[in-house]
């Protein structure tokens, strides 16, 4: 976590333990901190404070956006069409699946091999009955940035009754979300992706978009998210976001250069390496590569033993690596997908980290290939 975020939350864990909905002095202090945080978050995301709903993370924000907007629209008789993409985060896909079970017409638009949503297909999927369109701002595996302005124009043109939701969870550390997601009515973020704590997120609901809440009870968060607000998590989210915004432009340039050095170095040093996702349209921290003939699952273990941490696919609750639905959606053959790994860089990454990865990875891949060859 960012030190600013830890420092911000500490008083609300150790000292100011009050419920912000109370009426005594400590409660007022908590309430003030909560609303200051809301103003900070709103400013960073290009929204009004009254348009920010705090949640327990990105998945809840995605669920609330997709399900909440779709159910509210259908209840108002505006239609029942939901359009999303094949490579969304599971927080969106699962919500869409549940809507399909409840009788909504759900379409998943395909993805190009470059990791960018197929705009022609998206256009064809939209019509007057579409009520929710959900396209992520940055893909969580290959890091590609989706053309949200074009998508917004398409939605206004073809689906006048629809609201546009974007899962911006991966975008915050690298992009000015206020600008890049300005076309979206709904924007989901999650604190742990930008140096804040896990289990804290937010949804921006702009332009008076009606939502039916997932959680009902005491009416907190303007009735959109009942339950005592996680004050420590919220102030820590806001502090992490502020710190991110302050250094984001510089971080992007610095990390992007390190990432470019890492990718070029690996492509150069490791034969039969391929890059996943358009290198010119991805965030600075994303390095997603495949090494032909190497099982990513084995490579991750070998790298972990050398203290280099990488990832592949998405993790399920058992901790096993599931084959990536993102790479499948991009049309990557299964064997290539199973040979692909993601090495993420962040604001805390250093040149020494890149040196170490460049030192360890080529040797590790060569060793695995040699041992696999010996088995055959």
């Amino acid at each position: 976590m960012r030190p600013e975020s830890i420092a911000a939350m500490e008083p609300f864990l150790a000292g100011c333990f009050a419920n912000p909905s109370g009426i005594h002095g400590a409660a007022r202090a908590a309430k003030t901190a909560l609303e200051v945080a809301r103003e900070l978050v709103a400013a960073a995301l290009g929204a009004q404070p009254g348009e920010v709903v705090f949640t327990a993370g990105g998945t809840e924000a995605d669920n609330l956006a997709v399900e909440g907007a779709a159910r509210a629209a259908r209840a108002a008789g505006r239609g029942d069409g939901v359009v999303t993409t094949a490579f969304e985060h599971k927080g969106v896909l699962a919500a869409a699946d549940r809507l399909a079970v409840d009788g909504f017409t759900v379409q998943r638009v395909g993805i190009g091999g470059d990791g960018i949503v197929d705009l022609d297909a998206l256009g064809r999927a939209l019509d007057a009955k579409t009520v929710v369109v959900s396209v992520m701002l940055v893909n969580n595996e290959v890091g590609t940035i989706q053309p949200l302005d074009e998508i917004g124009a398409l939605v206004r043109d073809r689906a006048p009754h629809a609201v546009l939701h974007t899962d911006a969870v991966q975008a915050v550390p690298w992009l000015d979300v206020a600008e890049t997601a300005s076309a979206a009515d709904l924007v989901a973020i999650s604190a742990h992706k930008f140096g804040g704590p896990k289990g804290s997120g937010a949804l921006v609901a702009r332009n008076g978009v009606p939502l039916i809440p997932l959680l009902e009870g005491g009416g907190q968060e303007r009735g959109l998210r009942a339950g005592t607000v996680n004050v420590a998590g919220v102030v820590a989210l806001a502090a992490a976001l502020q710190a991110t915004v302050d250094t984001r432009a510089a971080d992007g340039i610095r990390v992007g250069a390190m990432r470019d050095r890492l990718v070029a170095g690996l492509v150069d040093a490791v034969p039969d390496t391929f890059v996943n996702g358009d290198p010119h349209r991805k965030i600075a921290g994303n390095c997603h590569l495949g090494f032909r003939g190497v099982e990513a699952e084995a490579l991750l273990v070998a790298l972990d033993q050398a203290d280099v941490y990488a990832a592949a696919g998405s993790s399920c609750s058992s901790g096993a690596t599931e084959p990536s639905h993102v790479l499948a959606a991009m049309g990557l053959p299964r064997d290539a997908a199973l040979a692909s790994v993601r090495i993420s860089l962040g604001f805390a990454s250093s040149d020494a980290d890149v040196d170490r990865a460049l030192d360890v990875l080529p040797a590790t891949v060569a060793q695995l290939r040699a041992r696999m060859g010996a088995l055959a």
């Binding site: 699952e297 972990d304 096993a320 060793q367 695995l368 696999m372």
Partner: protein, 340 residues
């Protein structure tokens, strides 16, 4: 040695990892995620993975999860369904040992630079003075699992550690309790791990449509009907739904014609078992008398191998096609195959 311990989340593999660590090996734990399908109650449920992970954490060894679901589906589940459809006895544990644990997982271990894999099987790997690896029955005869390891050869045995084979089950549990392992009192897994208890017929029906057909006697007289050959097995006498006044046994299953033949106990008896896909721990045996085992915990018979046939000394009930026939010299496995 650098050892990759396959930890299912059960007590045997937990203690196996602990014992190897105490013997000074450099142990890493791994749990295989094999089946995420219809049941989450089997050998690779989230709860079992968590048990394995926690035991590894307690032992302070690294722990990983390998997702071998694709291989498990192709090498274990599909053949399981196909065997039933063809009226053969499926051997999912045998196929998992062959293709997954001592196949893919062993290969993965060697790829990662490990010297051996370890499992919690009740059997003993020993290296004789001539450098030949032998697989002996586990010390606890009631728990012996050498039968489902009949396919292991020199290559696998040289790279496998089965420390539990030296212990009885109660000794395993005692060690687990002594070490305070959370799996000490865990019940045994009994059923096929990828099918929820009591759900076999539905599981199969969803994958291979059942073909009902007649139940006939040796002369071909129709005595009744069945819901599919996969619902019955050779030697079965209960649940035939045929009242003939005498006890009748299934003596043959003909999958292509969906016909079940029943007969008297005498019709079941044979001294001859044709076997296929024979595999030997080291080399084919000579004509000496061997212990013949035709079920996981069945009574041992006596016989010898003649080419692709096992000749029994005394008549015994026919072995269902597909059943593993394992051969032992004393308590040392010689090899085995599948009954035709």
């Amino acid at each position: 040695m650098k050892v990759l311990a396959l930890m299912s989340g059960g007590v045997d593999s937990s203690v196996a990892a602990a014992l190897l660590q105490s013997q000074g090996h450099d142990v890493t734990g791994v749990t295989l995620r094999l089946w995420g399908g219809e049941t989450d109650s089997g050998c690779c449920s989230v709860a079992d993975v968590e048990d394995a992970r926690r035991v590894a954490a307690q032992l302070d060894i690294p722990h990983y999860v390998f997702n071998l679901g694709d291989d498990f589906g192709a090498s274990v589940v599909e053949p399981y369904v196909a065997a039933y459809a063809a009226a053969r006895t499926p051997n999912p544990c045998v196929e998992c040992n062959r293709s997954i644990k001592f196949g893919r997982a062993l290969d993965r271990a060697l790829t990662l630079g490990f010297d051996a894999v370890a499992t919690g099987h009740h059997a003993r790997v020993q290296r004789d003075p001539a450098g030949v690896y032998r697989l002996r029955r586990g010390a606890d005869s009631a728990k012996d699992q050498s039968y489902v390891l009949y396919m292991l050869g020199q290559r696998e045995l040289a790279r496998s550690l089965l420390p539990i084979g030296e212990l009885t089950k109660s000794e395993v549990r005692a060690i687990a309790s002594e070490l305070g392992l959370r799996t000490a009192g865990k019940p045994e897994s009994m059923d096929v791990c990828f099918i929820a208890r009591g759900d076999r017929i539905r599981f199969l029906a969803a994958r291979a449509p059942a073909r009902p057909g007649p139940i006939v006697d040796k002369e071909g007289t129709v005595l009744g009907s069945h819901d599919g050959v996969h619902t019955l097995t050779v030697g079965q006498r209960r649940g035939l739904g045929v009242a003939t006044g005498t006890v009748r046994y299934v003596v043959d299953l003909d999958a292509p014609r969906a016909t079940v033949t029943i007969g008297a106990y005498a019709d079941l008896l044979t001294t001859d078992i044709a076997v296929r896909d024979l595999h030997f721990v080291r080399e084919p045996p000579d004509s000496r008398q061997l212990v013949v085992q035709t079920r996981a915990h069945g009574a041992p018979l006596t016989g010898h191998l003649e080419d692709q046939r096992v000749r029994l000394q005394a008549p015994a009930p026919r072995v269902a096609p597909g059943q593993v026939v394992a051969l032992y010299d004393g308590d040392s496995l010689v090899g085995g195959g599948l009954a035709c």
